[in-house]
């Protein structure tokens, strides 16, 4: 068997086996079986590292292996399944393995003592399995199936502490919102399959290149697939589930709702990019760009530490989606990988803080204070130095400060966007989205850092009881902090301002396959990016510095008062604080009317249609039956039939009198009759 197939099969199925063991016997195993899941995920990490090392040694940008088998077939209909292993797959496998391993290890302490501890690890394994399915899929079919399975694990993990109603609601909301996107995804798949007759990427690419699906249909197919990404990567207008998903345990937020699953949408768009038409691309760019800015404006007023990060995730995903639309889609994948590291790190950092808060509040027997509210923190730098440094490094990375990883990918994204504007001399709005979000990102991240780790502790009793988290939680923080340094993504190049390195060498952009040359070629795109690289970098540095400075002035020096500015910009502040009332609007415009419709249908079905129409048949029948009954009984039966009876009865009554019951009189009659007969005979 091919070595790549062997490795990937192991990577794919080990977490599934771990899930099976955990779900059935996990509780009875020593340590509730956490070692089963951790062992599985660490093995996949080693295997992924081996694949990754092989890729680096190979250093071949065109490396590709495809394995497939027939999954089901009828005489003419066939679905194949299989793995596509190329450099993107290998990088993504490694990302999933790293973040997933980090989550597993982090949870050792974070989830310790939970009554459903083994169940938690089972779900984590299930997620890892499903996510690897998305990464490995060589067809939209396996992708879609894994897509739904990550949705399931997300549902289970968000709703892990289901005793709380808001938690259960959040899980349901996530699943259903994703399903809305999946409808579009599914329609897109069907459009492609109908035209091309296959689900596999290679067949679809060949079919599109052959012109078997073109024009509006191809645009619609692309938009359909994108809708799936809108749901999974929580883009506007389906972004509402992700902030709520923060109700789940923090390691889950880090793994699923920051680093990997939500990036699956971006990953899919990267995979199918060659078939996107210009119209679809522009829509994608605008949706992504809008989400980037929109989410950032909400993030600046959050007070819950995880909510800040959630909206930041939305914003960063928007970046990635936007750049897919601009054509420089490799930058999206680049940012995906880098973002996975620093954003997971931020969440683990937040988890570490929450863990500390939780224990402090537990010691104080305080169940009212929200352990996630930043307003209850402050000054934590002294108590949790490692957590602080990890979060600081990640914040620098996300803000796009040189020497940190985020700078490279963010720069690539902004350069890609600027390049599009320069190529087309339109879509300037995208620049506002991109740079505006960059400004706000630096602002809200450092707002969080300052409020949480600097200043005076706002609640001294809590502060006194805070301590650094245990080692199992710090290891992931340290590892991921290290991975937020630029050098890991640019080797062998060590220039912190250039993203040229192994990544850009190994992950090559594919030419658009849409016939007619209506999309720019890779060469064109790269050319224009090259031109816009320097201006984009300078601008992004300036806006990031501005954001940082603003946060410093407001939340550290406090020369600018946040409260005063909030009052001055009251309407804007309110909009941001209330998340633009999107949840309320959906609730009013979609959710409630939908439930009303359902109630109405059920009422119509049961209390109107069945009760009056169907039972009406019954009633009419009964009514008719009564008439017929009356006619039958009173008329026919009593009138006609019974009159025979009555006549007979009357006759019988009179004849009865002859019957005396005395045998002698009968004999007398008989004798008389004989005599009469004799007489008649004689006569």
């Amino acid at each position: 068997m091919n070595i790549f197939l062997q490795y990937t099969l192991l990577i794919y199925f080990l977490p599934l086996i771990a899930f099976g063991i955990q779900i059935f016997v996990g509780k009875r195993l020593p340590r509730q079986g956490d070692w089963v899941s951790i062992g599985a995920v660490l093995t996949t990490l080693i295997l992924s590292l081996a694949l990754f090392a092989g890729m680096l040694l190979n250093y071949n940008p065109h490396f590709e292996q495809n394995f497939s088998f027939t999954w089901l077939e009828t005489a003419n209909f066939k679905i194949t399944m299989g793995f596509l292993i190329d450099n993107i797959t290998i990088i993504m496998l490694l990302v999933v393995a790293i973040v997933s391993s980090a989550s597993h290890i982090f949870s050792l302490k974070y989830m310790a003592g939970d009554p459903r501890y083994s169940r938690f690890y089972a779900y984590l394994s299930l997620f890892t399995f499903s996510m690897n399915g998305i990464v490995l899929a060589n067809s939209l079919m396996l992708l879609y199936m894994s897509w739904e399975l990550v949705g399931l694990s997300s549902y289970l993990l968000i709703g892990f502490w289901f005793e709380k109603d808001s938690v259960a609601n959040a899980g349901k909301k996530a699943f259903l919102t994703n399903r809305v996107g999946d409808i579009g995804f599914f329609i897109g798949i069907m459009l492609l399959f109908t035209a091309i007759g296959s689900f596999s990427y290679s067949d679809i690419f060949a079919g599109v290149a052959d012109g078997r699906i073109t024009g509006t249909l191809l645009t619609l197919a692309g938009i359909g697939l994108f809708m799936g990404a809108v749901g999974k990567s929580a883009q506007f207008p389906l972004h509402i589930w992700l902030p709520d998903a923060m109700e789940g345990p923090t390691p889950v937020s880090a793994l699923i709702h920051a680093a990997t699953m939500v990036a699956a949408g971006v990953f899919m768009m990267v995979r199918v990019f060659p078939i996107l038409t210009p119209d679809a691309q522009i829509l994608i760019a605008y949706i992504g760009g809008f989400t980037a800015l929109f989410a950032a404006t909400i993030a600046i007023t959050r007070t819950d530490i995880k909510q800040v990060l959630a909206y930041s995730t939305l914003s960063q995903l928007g970046y990635m989606i936007m750049v897919v639309g601009t054509g420089a889609y490799i930058a999206a994948f680049f940012h995906l990988v880098i973002h996975a590291m620093f954003k997971a790190n931020l969440f683990y950092g937040a988890g570490s803080v929450i863990h500390g808060m939780h224990h402090a509040l537990h010691d104080l027997k305080d169940h009212k204070t929200d352990p996630q509210d930043m307003r209850n923190m402050g000054g934590l730098k002294a108590k949790m130095p490692i957590t602080f440094w990890a979060m600081l490094i990640s914040s620098l990375a996300i803000s796009g400060i040189p020497f940190f990883s985020g700078f490279l990918s963010k720069d690539a994204i902004l350069a890609g966007t600027l390049a599009l504007v320069e190529r087309t001399h339109s879509h300037h709005l995208l620049l506002i989205f991109g740079f505006g979000a960059a400004l706000l990102t630096a602002f809200y991240m450092f707002r969080m850092i300052f409020i949480t780790f600097y200043n005076q502790p706002s609640r001294p009793q809590i502060f006194a009881r805070m301590k650094e988290s245990p080692r199992a939680m710090l290891i992931p923080l340290i590892v991921l902090s290290v991975l937020s340094v630029y050098i890991f993504y640019t080797l062998p190049n060590i220039n912190p301002l250039s993203d040229k390195g192994w990544f850009t060498h190994l992950v090559e952009a594919k030419e658009s396959l849409v016939p007619g040359g209506i999309n720019p070629t890779v060469h064109d795109i790269e050319e224009s990016i090259h031109h816009s690289h320097t201006p984009a970098m300078i601008t992004s540095l300036i806006v990031a510095a501005m954001g940082l400075l603003l946060a410093w002035l407001m939340y550290f020096k406090k020369t600018l008062s946040a409260e005063v500015w909030a009052k001055r910009l009251k309407p804007l502040y309110n909009l941001s604080y209330n998340k633009y009332y999107i949840d309320e609007i959906y609730n009013k415009v979609l959710y409630r009317p939908f439930l009303k419709l359902a109630d109405w249908v059920a009422y119509l079905d049961w209390n109107v249609y069945d009760k009056y129409f169907i039972n009406g048949f019954g009633k009419v029948t009964v009514w008719l039956a009564k008439i017929v009954g009356i006619a039958d009984y009173e008329g026919l039966d009593q009138g006609v039939v019974d009159s025979f009876g009555r006549g007979t009865k009357r006759l019988g009554g009179s004849l009865k009198k002859l019957q005396t019951g005395k045998i002698q009189s009968y004999i007398l009659f008989a004798a008389l009759a004989v005599v009469i007969i004799l007489i008649l005979q004689v006569l």
Partner: protein, 101 residues
């Protein structure tokens, strides 16, 4: 006295007496006796026809059968009467009228 008619007239008288007894008597035993008379009237006729009709002894054999049957009939009838007496405490045939309505 070897005239057939004499026998027939006597048999007819006997039959009429029997029939009269059957019709008029209320006592079950008397009714039974009437029946015996009727049967014997028939026997008389059978033998008379056999004797004067120039036939063989078929009539005699018939008469013998009737006598045997009459004996059996009397036995059964007396048993019934006995039962009726036990049930109704009377052998008046008019009172045994349970089957009537």
């Amino acid at each position: 006295m070897d005239n057939l008619q004499v026998y027939l007239i006597i048999a007819a008288l006997l039959f009429s007496l029997g029939l009269f007894a059957v019709i008029t008597r209320r006592n079950a035993i008397a009714v039974l006796m009437g029946v015996e008379l009727i049967l014997n009237a028939a026997n008389l006729n059978l033998i008379a026809f056999a004797r004067f009709g120039g036939m063989n002894i078929t009539g005699h054999i018939f008469a013998l059968f009737v006598i045997v049957l009459a004996a059996a009939e009397v036995a059964v009838a007396l048993a019934i009467i006995l039962n009726i007496y036990q049930n109704f405490n009377s052998i008046n045939v008019d009172e045994a009228q349970q089957l009537k309505q």
